[in-house]
Symmetry: C2
Subunit: 241 residues, 2 copies
C-alpha cells in the first residue's frame, strides 16, 4: 500500500495482461538500505564456512550487512530435516526482517565477512527518518516477493524447472548474463534443501541441463550459462518439447 517501486527478478514471470514485465535485474533495495547504514557506526565480523551467525529464536541484537561470502537462512526440525528459506549474497541485509527474535538460523555457506550495527541504533534511525522507513518497506516487500516466487516454485514446478528457476534467480541477483560464469558457492545439499529435493535429484537435473547443452559445469562451484534463453523456457515449464 505504501508507494514503492520494488522490482524483482521473477524467473517464471511472463508478460501478463496487466502486470508489466519485470526485467531480470538485481534487487536494488538492499543496496539503498546498505547505503544508508554505511554512515552508521558498527563493527566487522568474519565467519568460517558452516559456522552459525545467529540461531532461530535468539534475540535480535544486531543488524548485519554482508560484505563478502554467502549466508543461508534455514530452519532445523527435530527429525533432522533442514529447510533453507533463502541464500543471501554480498550487499544483502541480515536480521533486518526479523522481529524481537530471529525467524531463522543464519549460517555461513563459505567464508563470510559481515558489517554489523547495533539494533537499537537502527531502530532509532527507523523511527526518525522517513526515508529509511521507505527503504525498509522496499526491502521488506522485495523479500516478500522473492518468497512468493519460491512458494510458486515449490508448489508447481518439477525438479528440472525448480533448478532452472533457482539458477536464474541467482544469475539475476548477481547480474550474470548469457555465456557468463555463475558462482555456486553453496553445495548440492544446500540447493536440495532449498528446493525441496534430494541431493541426487539435484545432481541428475544438473546433468540433464549439461547434457542438453544448456549449461556447462567447469567445476562443482561454477556454472556457465550457455543457453540462458533455453533455461528461461525450462523454468517457464516449456520442457515438454
Amino acid at each position: 500500500m505504501i508507494a514503492l517501486n520494488a522490482r524483482y527478478s521473477k524467473a517464471w514471470a511472463e508478460p501478463e495482461r496487466h502486470a508489466p514485465v519485470r526485467p531480470l535485474s538485481p534487487d536494488t533495495s538492499s543496496d539503498r538500505l546498505g547505503g544508508m547504514l554505511q554512515d552508521q557506526r558498527g563493527g566487522r565480523q568474519a565467519f568460517e564456512k558452516n559456522n552459525t551467525i545467529f540461531s532461530e529464536g535468539h534475540p535480535v541484537d544486531r543488524i548485519y550487512r554482508i560484505i563478502g561470502g554467502t549466508v543461508r537462512l534455514c530452519r532445523h526440525t527435530q527429525n533432522g530435516n533442514r529447510y533453507i528459506a533463502d541464500f543471501l549474497l554480498p550487499g544483502d541485509m541480515l536480521g533486518f526482517i526479523d522481529q524481537n527474535e530471529h525467524l531463522f538460523t543464519a549460517e555461513a555457506v563459505d567464508q563470510v565477512n559481515l558489517a554489523y550495527y547495533p539494533r537499537n541504533q537502527i531502530a532509532r534511525l527507523f523511527d526518525s527518518d522517513a526515508n529509511v522507513r521507505t527503504n525498509f518497506l522496499l526491502h521488506f516487500s522485495a523479500r516478500m516477493m522473492a518468497f512468493q516466487d519460491h512458494l510458486f516454485t515449490l508448489a508447481c514446478q518439477s525438479a528440472k524447472e525448480r533448478l532452472a528457476s533457482f539458477i536464474l534467480r541467482l544469475a539475476g541477483r548477481t547480474a550474470t548474463g548469457a555465456g557468463q560464469r555463475l558462482n555456486l558457492s553453496m553445495g548440492r545439499r544446500d540447493i536440495a534443501d532449498h528446493l525441496g529435493l534430494s541431493v541426487e535429484t539435484i545432481c541428475r537435473s544438473l546433468a540433464q541441463l549439461r547434457d542438453a547443452g544448456v549449461v556447462e559445469i567447469p567445476n562443482v562451484h561454477q556454472l556457465v550459462l550457455t543457453e540462458l534463453e533455453t533455461l528461461r523456457s525450462i523454468a517457464r515449464g516449456a520442457a515438454a518439447e
Copy 2:
C-alpha cells in the same frame, strides 16, 4: 528489528532450544489493524462466489477488510496452472501488504463481504500515526511468518503431513478446538492448489485421516477435529507409527 510481539500459529513448530513455544492461537495483528481502520470512512462491497476482487498487477486503489466469507490469493500462469498463496478469513486485511501493484489476484471463495478504504487515506494514516506503523509491521511480519511456515510445508512435508498442517493452521486461525467443527469453505481443488498436490491426493489423504479416526467428515465443507493431538503429531512428521 522493530519491536514486535507477533505470535503466529506454527503448526509444525516444536519447543526448541531457544525459541519459546508459540501457542496455536489466532493471529491478532489483523484485528488490531482492522480496529484502527474502523474509524476511517470507506464503503462496503459484496462479491459472489468465484468472482475476482482484484487482479495481480492492477494498481492498488483500496485496502479491504473481510467482513464475511473467504478470499483466496492466487497467481495464474499461462500454462493454466494456479497457485494459491493463502486463504484470508473474516478480519483479515486485503491489499495491505501489496505495493503500487497487487501481488496476487484475489478471488471470492464463497459469498464475500468486504469493507474498503481508499488507499491514499490509509497512506496518510500510515505517515502520520506511529501506532498504525507498528501495527502494520506486526501484520506484515505475521504474514511473513505464515508464508515461511508454508514454505516449509511445501519443501519438506508429505501429502498427509501437508494436509494435517493445513487443517491445523485453519483451526488455529478460527480458534477451532478439539472435537469442534471446522468450516472448510474452500473446495478440494483450492486446497490442492494451495498445498501443491492434486485434487485426488487431497481426497485420498482426507480419506486416510477419516479412516484413521483422526477427523470426521460430516459433509464436504465441514471437518470434525476428533483427534487434534494425533493431527499435530502427523503434521510433525510422526506418521511413521
